[in-house]
């Protein structure tokens, strides 16, 4: 399926971006279930190192902040622990949505990469979590 171009958001909470995510991102249709409880952000080991926690990222998608979402370092910071997926009370595949959204951001030319504590870009692979990186 070809990737749709990003919609233009004219007003806050315009639903065009939410719908774009629902159509183009794997698991994105589940986003509507989010009740902003913050269990995902509370569980996330890496959220503290990046710009936004998962809850905030989802709130931004809903608010239609396209640019902020697509350039967020959070999209590439997931450490794949999947605590958010197992803990989400509404069963939203949080980590999967974030990872796929990151891929779509790459495809659309947003090539922002998070930088680790050592100043080096963190490789977008399984062991991106700086907690582990620091421990190694």
């Amino acid at each position: 399926m070809a990737l749709e171009p990003l919609p233009e958001v004219t007003r806050p909470y315009d639903q065009s971006f939410t719908r774009w995510v629902a159509r183009n991102v794997k698991g994105g249709d589940k986003l509507a279930l989010c009740m902003q409880c913050g269990t995902c952000s509370g569980s996330c080991r890496t959220a503290v190192y990046y710009e936004h926690g998962p809850r905030m990222l989802f709130a931004m998608i809903r608010a239609g902040n396209v640019h902020d979402v697509m350039t967020s370092t959070t999209l590439h910071g997931c450490g794949r622990c999947y605590l958010c997926v197992s803990r989400c009370p509404r069963g939203i595949p949080v980590a999967h949505i974030i990872r796929d959204l990151g891929q779509k951001a790459d495809e659309l030319g947003y090539s922002i990469r998070p930088v680790g504590p050592d100043g080096q870009p963190i490789p977008d692979a399984g062991a991106a979590c700086p907690t582990c990186a620091a421990a190694q």
Partner: protein, 756 residues
């Protein structure tokens, strides 16, 4: 009155026989009180036990008795012997279950319980009710909105004639102006048809109901069962006999002109929810400024609500109203978008379904507080709580302020009488004084502000000693306690329902009306037979005032929590029996102790205090007197006994009807008798009181502030007299309160008055 033939019955059941020496107790009535008829029994509440007492009553051996068994709060159905006064001595909860068995102190406590009860019996008369001969069954319902209409219908269904009074020219109140109503039937998702017209038709078709529109209540005098109400219809006065009154005067919208900070007045397209409702009702939803259709509409929730500068409370229905209006807008125009800017969305119960339906239909909910509203560019800037940033919502066609409800606890059509707008009359002089010991946890009382009182004249214009208003709670709502005593105002026979009592929607108002009507009917029926209404349901006694001793000091007429006592032309107190709730606050107020009840009076408690044996100062057995409110504190102590908690054996507990009925004389009697400490145990006072009689503990607190001088004149420490607030749920902490006080008293030297 025939000859008094007292008898004493002592029960050995429930562990009493194991804890105390019943044989010793059995000898006590004869040796100390010359009561020959004293019987012990294995289980008095058994059919055999009751039969034995019934036989003694039937053959004329006794006509009044002390039953020394369990607390007077239980087995009330067993120990009833018509025509005989019954006094209960609490040997179970407060002796056998809460003190070590076989102990010397336990035996002394049991003997004292018996002494107190026998003395109580000596001052107890069989009460004769004050019956109203010419009572009226007609109910007056003030207000013709949903609450008033439902109240009238419910009363008519119960077979009572109703007079329904409405101040405008048509029935229906605010609800007649609504374009639809929030869902009240499953599946609770759709905006439902406004069915108030059907309700009006049912009321008009009911023969028992007389409707009077364009009518104001100008004067109300009398008491439940015999109110005289003057009504003014188009300038013509009319007097009606009324049994009880249901006040369903409803609400008025909060004045949006005070909401300049939310842009009201800056643009014709910034409207209140009421103004929008009018547009939805006519079906012409257009911008007021240029007549263009409304494509983008924003609702600002809590406009002037939950705001210390405006209405401090939540009006509870505005969230549902905005959801309803947003759904109506979205439904009428599929291209329209509706935004609801909320701080906390309050959709209790089934309204949650309605909220979800709005989400499904695409209404956009934005969590945050509206910071700025610009009427020129029609922009709402709000602090988005989920994004943590300010979000501007620009280019709106209409901004709706969801304003709150102000209770019509005063009549906006009647002039404010300045002399009568005093805090004292509205609040009925609740005065939370200095902080005192609290058994539970208590939040700070709600600050009373004059601005919380809705402006206007009195609703009923009561011709009462305590003023024309129905007293209000701190927020200005006419009720006496939202949770414990709903509908009951502080004026017996007058019940409020609907939004004048607390904010509510049409469905809740209808339910509320049914509740208030039931209370009103009870009030009529009780006044007919001369018994008290809630909370002392069934009490036949009433305050008797000895006019020969009365000094016309007026303390009773001022302090009565229910405004039951008026003054006659000569300034003497005049009790309206059916307005009285039998708390005894007047009795505690009377400086010459001339107000008495048949089975509760100052002399009775005095005798009970004096009846106890006070060991001498070398025995190391102090004596502590607890005067416990029998609504909360006494049950809490009983519950502690049922839980087998043990407390100091040196306390002697006397139940009182309310702390408001405690006179300072009892305190000085106890001190002179040789008690080492005195504690008053009552309910929580202040604006968030739990007192069944509104301000009994507050009054007691004020009276006790004067006890210091008495103590000083007797050269006694001020720690000897104290007060504690205990709620009915404090059965665990009450033991600590008692024991801590006992420790304090134990550390002091004995009362030097012992033995004098």
């Amino acid at each position: 009155m025939s000859e008094k033939k007292p008898g004493v019955y002592i029960c050995k059941g429930c562990g009493i026989g194991d804890a105390v020496n019943v044989d010793e107790l059995e000898a006590l009535p004869k040796s100390e009180f010359r009561i020959g008829h004293c019987v012990k029994h294995d289980a008095l509440c058994s059919p055999e036990g009751v039969a034995a007492i019934t036989k003694d009553v039937a053959d004329g051996t006794i006509n009044r008795m002390v039953i020394a068994a369990c607390s007077h709060r239980v087995m009330t159905d067993k120990f009833v012997f018509p025509g005989s006064a019954v006094v209960r001595a609490n040997l179970r909860e407060q002796v056998a279950w809460s003190q070590p068995a076989g102990d010397e102190n336990t035996q002394m406590l049991a003997a004292d319980q018996l002494r107190m009860s026998i003395s109580q019996l000596s001052r107890t008369e069989q009460p004769e009710p004050a019956v109203i001969a010419d009572y009226t069954r007609t109910l007056l319902v003030v207000g013709g909105g949903v609450s008033g209409l439902t109240a009238a219908l419910e009363a008519a269904k119960a077979g009572y004639p109703v007079l329904l009074v409405e101040r405008t020219d048509q029935l229906g109140g605010w609800s007649a102006k609504w374009s639809g109503r929030m869902p009240h039937r499953p599946p609770y998702r759709e905006v439902q048809e406004n069915d108030v017209a059907k309700l009006i038709a049912r009321v008009q078709g009911e023969k028992q109901i007389t409707v009077m529109t364009n009518t104001l209540v100008t004067k109300t005098a009398g008491a439940p069962g015999q109110f005289t109400v003057t009504l003014s219809q188009g300038g013509q006065d009319k007097t009606e006999k009324i049994g009880a009154i249901v006040v369903a005067t409803g609400w008025r919208p909060y004045d949006a002109n005070k909401l300049g900070h939310l842009g009201y007045g800056a643009s014709p397209d910034i409207v209140t929810a009421i103004e929008l409702e009018a547009m939805l009702k006519t079906g012409e939803l257009k911008r007021k400024s240029n007549g263009q259709p409304v494509k983008h509409i924003a609702f600002i929730q809590c406009a002037g609500s939950r705001d210390p500068n405006h209405l401090p409370y939540c009006s509870s229905v505005c969230c549902g109203v905005s959801i309803k209006q947003a759904l109506q807008v979205v439904k009428s125009d599929a291209k329209a978008s509706a935004y609801i800017v909320y701080e906390e969305l309050r959709t209790p119960g089934t309204a949650e379904e309605f909220y979800r339906e709005a989400q499904r239909k695409g209404v956009i909910f934005m969590k945050g507080k509206a910071a700025k509203v610009d009427g020129g560019s029609m922009t709402v800037t709000y602090e988005d709580e989920l994004l943590g940033m300010e979000v501007p919502l620009a280019g709106l066609d209409m901004i709706v302020l969801a304003t709150g409800m102000v209770p019509n606890s005063t009549n906006p059509d009647m002039p404010v009488i300045e002399a009568e707008k005093s805090e004292l009359q509205l609040k009925s002089d609740i005065n939370p004084a200095a902080p005192i010991k609290v058994a539970g946890e208590a939040p700070a009382p709600f600050p009373w502000k004059d601005s919380n009182v809705p402006t206007g004249g009195p609703i009923l214009n009561l011709q009462y000693r305590q003023g024309p208003h129905i007293p209000m709670l701190a927020d200005g709502f006419s009720d006496s306690h939202y949770i414990c005593f709903p509908y009951e105002t502080r004026r017996t026979g007058i019940y409020t329902c609907g939004p004048v009592r607390r904010p509510m929607d049409m469905g809740e108002s209808a339910e509320d009306a049914a509740g208030a009507v039931l209370k009103a009917i009870q009030s009529i029926e009780n006044s007919k037979v001369g018994v008290s209404v809630h909370p002392r349901v069934g009490d036949l006694t009433y305050p008797k005032i000895g006019h020969d001793k009365c000094t016309k000091c007026r303390r009773c007429t001022v302090e009565c929590p229910f405004g039951a006592i008026d003054e006659d032309e000569q300034g003497r107190p005049n009790v309206n029996f059916s307005r009285c709730r039998r708390c005894g606050t007047c009795m505690g107020a009377c400086p010459v102790q001339t107000i008495t009840f048949d089975n509760y009076n100052p002399q009775m408690v005095n005798t009970m205090i004096e009846a106890n044996e006070i060991p001498d100062e070398f025995s190391e057995k102090p004596r502590i007197l607890i005067l416990a409110c029998e609504n909360d504190a006494y049950p809490a102590i009983d519950m502690a006994g049922i839980g087998r908690h043990q407390w100091s054996p040196f306390v002697r507990i006397i139940p009182v009807r309310c702390l408001g009925s405690v006179t300072l004389q009892w305190v000085s009697t106890a001190l002179q008798k040789g008690y080492d400490g005195i504690m008053l145990m009552g309910c929580k006072s202040g604006d968030d009181y739990q007192c069944h009689f509104i301000k009994g503990s507050a009054i007691a607190k004020e009276r006790m502030s004067k006890v210091g001088e008495t103590l000083k004149s007797l050269a006694l420490e001020k720690e000897r007299v104290t007060m504690a607030e205990v709620s009915i749920a404090d059965s665990h902490s009450v033991v600590k309160v008692i024991n801590d006080f006992a420790d304090t008293i134990g550390a002091l030297s004995p009362n030097p008055m012992k033995g004098f």
